[in-house]
Symmetry: C2
Subunit: 410 residues, 2 copies
């Protein structure tokens, strides 16, 4: 059995959600638990009810809609993503996966298709982590990785408390934040947020896993001296040591693996004056690879390079790990369901690792999970310039529909 | 004729001024035109009057005290420095030169010494430039390098206007801000703020000139992409280009000259997130050398290195000059007056270039000028840890007194 979504209605829904929190620059500013988030949730709630879904909202605001299967005791298939956005982000990141899931349900209704298993669609609370940290909060609690009491107490930079904001917008539900039953499988559709599919001329990515990651920070501590009066040989310049490390991390992937990436994304410098030698510089590292062994090696090399740079410049060095996540390899049967769907639909696709982490990483903690990527123009994301053509969005949505349909019947 | 200052009274005055705006850490927080600046000016004003000086305050708050010579028509000798400090700076920077000048006058009074020429002592307004920019404002206007109307309009970071602050503390005087007559010579005593004297076991620096300087900023502009999803070969990382430049500038002096210094003191980075490739990084350069030719070569090399780094990383690059000052070579006769004084006093001294700019650079625009450095422990300055022993402070003050006395009689 193959389904084909209603393209115009799908595009209309994508446009509709993009106006809620939409920016003048054509992007989306819809931070978690903001007024815009409330409005888009209201729209999503109404849309789920109109599609005859049985709605549940849990105590962290995660929104589920269930369409019963012919076997209501069978483990359901879960599909969805998130409706919150980055500050001045794009209109596809997260929302595409929600609108496609909704449209899939509408199409099943239109065509009066009964699936064997129940299907649930979900909007996870605060995937982005830009207003409240960490990222993927809703799915993280649901999957048992985060503690709900701690997360409800989190504050944004204005001191607003997460739980109060959840109550304020009316989305603190009654359901416990955990899987209500066993799930048969989960699929998330998301934009790639990288350039690989476009570089290879593909519309669809069959995601086989999510890379492992090491995040941390190195702090170099030297001496804040006058830049004019201190001879070169007396300087202990923390920024010079940091520069050595930045260069080393740029070079590192080339000697580790063909899928390794690494960079220094942020720097803190004191006193940061044109006339004073930098005393203290903190540089954050990020190293990712599908192979956890390589991530471990990369982290070791970062520390070795930091020590060498510190010695060279005569400064002190400390480091701390900030995050470590193991790579995820999606289950064969979910990956195969996606492969089969793109093959039947005849789309240009390739297998791909996700370089970013997604709610799917948490769903994979609970059941066999897969992901579908839609090509991102220029790989741009977290910006108003994020773009995927409606044709490519539609292909990705059809892939989600057909792979989910297959899983719901098998 | 040789004079010897009253050591205890000199130390007492140093301690007295150090309490006005003194910090718990033993430093000084006495920003220009702050309440602390008003208090120390009140103390200085009273001290000048008690020493029977004829006081003038000009429209920019520069404070002069004149002791008449036997020939009141002779061009006077000008000595002084500044009483304002850096935020949480040290108790010697500037103040040592003022207290020594004051103590010199008191000693002349004690011993009833008449000099041939008049002697004027001066406290220049806002040498530090940390609250209002630029540095050396008072002496800069006086020397004709800055425009008084423009400088009076300057605002601090809280929007307070310089002229209003000057009026508020009661130090907007009536005198025009320009040399009231020809000056025979000027001498400034200051701490070294560098480690050369200590490294060579000397107490006193006979400053022969001030190095030339090139300050500027290079901005690299790349692409803000996701650090996980962007393949290494697709990255345009502005921070990597900046790191190349920082390393190149660290190396540069070694191929330019034995007195050349250079560094990147400050960095601005956007968006500065662990998870985003740095899009825009601005790095400031500073290059100094006693030889202006070498400063020019250094600036050219910085720009060449910036272009090479930008090309290597595929980012855009722009640069701007922020300051350029030519080196100053102090007049032989003022340098010789200092040399003669340390020789007669039997102090361990050496000739030295000043790596920092001082009010003396502006005085040198008006008349033959010299400078005396007191050794700085560990070369530390602009910090509460700034330190010069009372013995070394006293030696430097005696050097100021005797070189000024010589100039005032010849």
């Amino acid at each position: 059995m193959q389904v084909s979504l209603n393209k115009q209605r799908f595009i209309d829904s994508m446009k509709k959600q993009s106006k809620i929190g939409g920016t003048n620059g054509g992007g989306l500013h819809r931070l978690a638990l903001s007024d815009a988030d409330k409005q888009v949730r209201d729209w999503f709630l109404k849309s789920m009810k109109n599609a005859c879904l049985e709605v549940r909202i849990d105590k962290f605001g995660n929104m589920f809609g269930r369409r019963e299967g012919t076997d209501s005791t069978a483990d359901p298939v879960l599909i969805g993503s998130h409706l919150d956005s980055q500050p001045n982000g794009g209109i596809y990141d997260g929302a595409l996966g929600i609108v496609a899931a909704l449209e899939f349900i509408r199409t099943l209704n239109d065509k009066n298709i009964k699936t064997n298993r129940p299907i649930e669609i979900v909007n996870w609370t605060n995937e982005e982590g830009s207003r409240f940290q960490p990222t993927m909060q809703g799915s993280g609690i649901w999957a048992g990785k985060l503690n709900i009491s701690e997360e409800l107490r989190k504050e944004d930079e204005n001191g607003k408390i997460l739980e109060e904001e959840l109550e304020r917008i009316g989305y603190k539900g009654e359901e416990p934040v955990r899987p209500s039953e066993n799930y048969h499988a989960a699929i998330e559709l998301h934009i790639e947020q990288g350039p690989q599919l476009e570089n290879n001329g593909k519309s669809i990515g069959i995601v086989t896993g999510i890379v492992g990651l090491s995040w941390g920070a190195v702090t170099f501590d030297g001496e804040a001296e006058h830049t004019g009066t201190t001879p070169m040989e007396n300087r202990k310049d923390a920024l010079v040591a940091a520069a050595d490390l930045i260069t080393a991390i740029r070079r590192l992937p080339g000697s580790l693996g063909s899928h390794t990436v690494g960079s220094v994304g942020s720097i803190n410098i004191e006193p940061n004056s044109i006339n004073t030698i930098p005393k203290k510089v903190t540089a954050t590292w990020g190293i990712r690879d599908p192979n956890d062994e390589i991530v471990t090696q990369g982290r070791t090399r970062v520390i070795e390079e930091a020590e060498a740079a510190a010695k060279r410049e005569g400064v002190q060095v400390e480091w701390e790990d900030r995050a470590r996540s193991s790579s995820i390899r999606f289950a064969d049967r979910t990956v195969q369901a996606v492969e089969q769907a793109v093959e039947e639909l005849g789309y240009d696709a390739q297998t791909i690792y996700s370089g970013a982490v997604h709610d799917a990483a948490n769903m994979a903690n609970v059941c066999d999970t897969g992901m579908i990527f839609a090509v991102s123009e220029d790989g741009k994301s977290h910006t108003e310039k994020e773009y995927t053509s409606w044709d490519d969005c539609y292909k990705a949505a059809n892939t989600l529909a057909n792979s989910s349909l297959y899983l719901a019947n098998n």
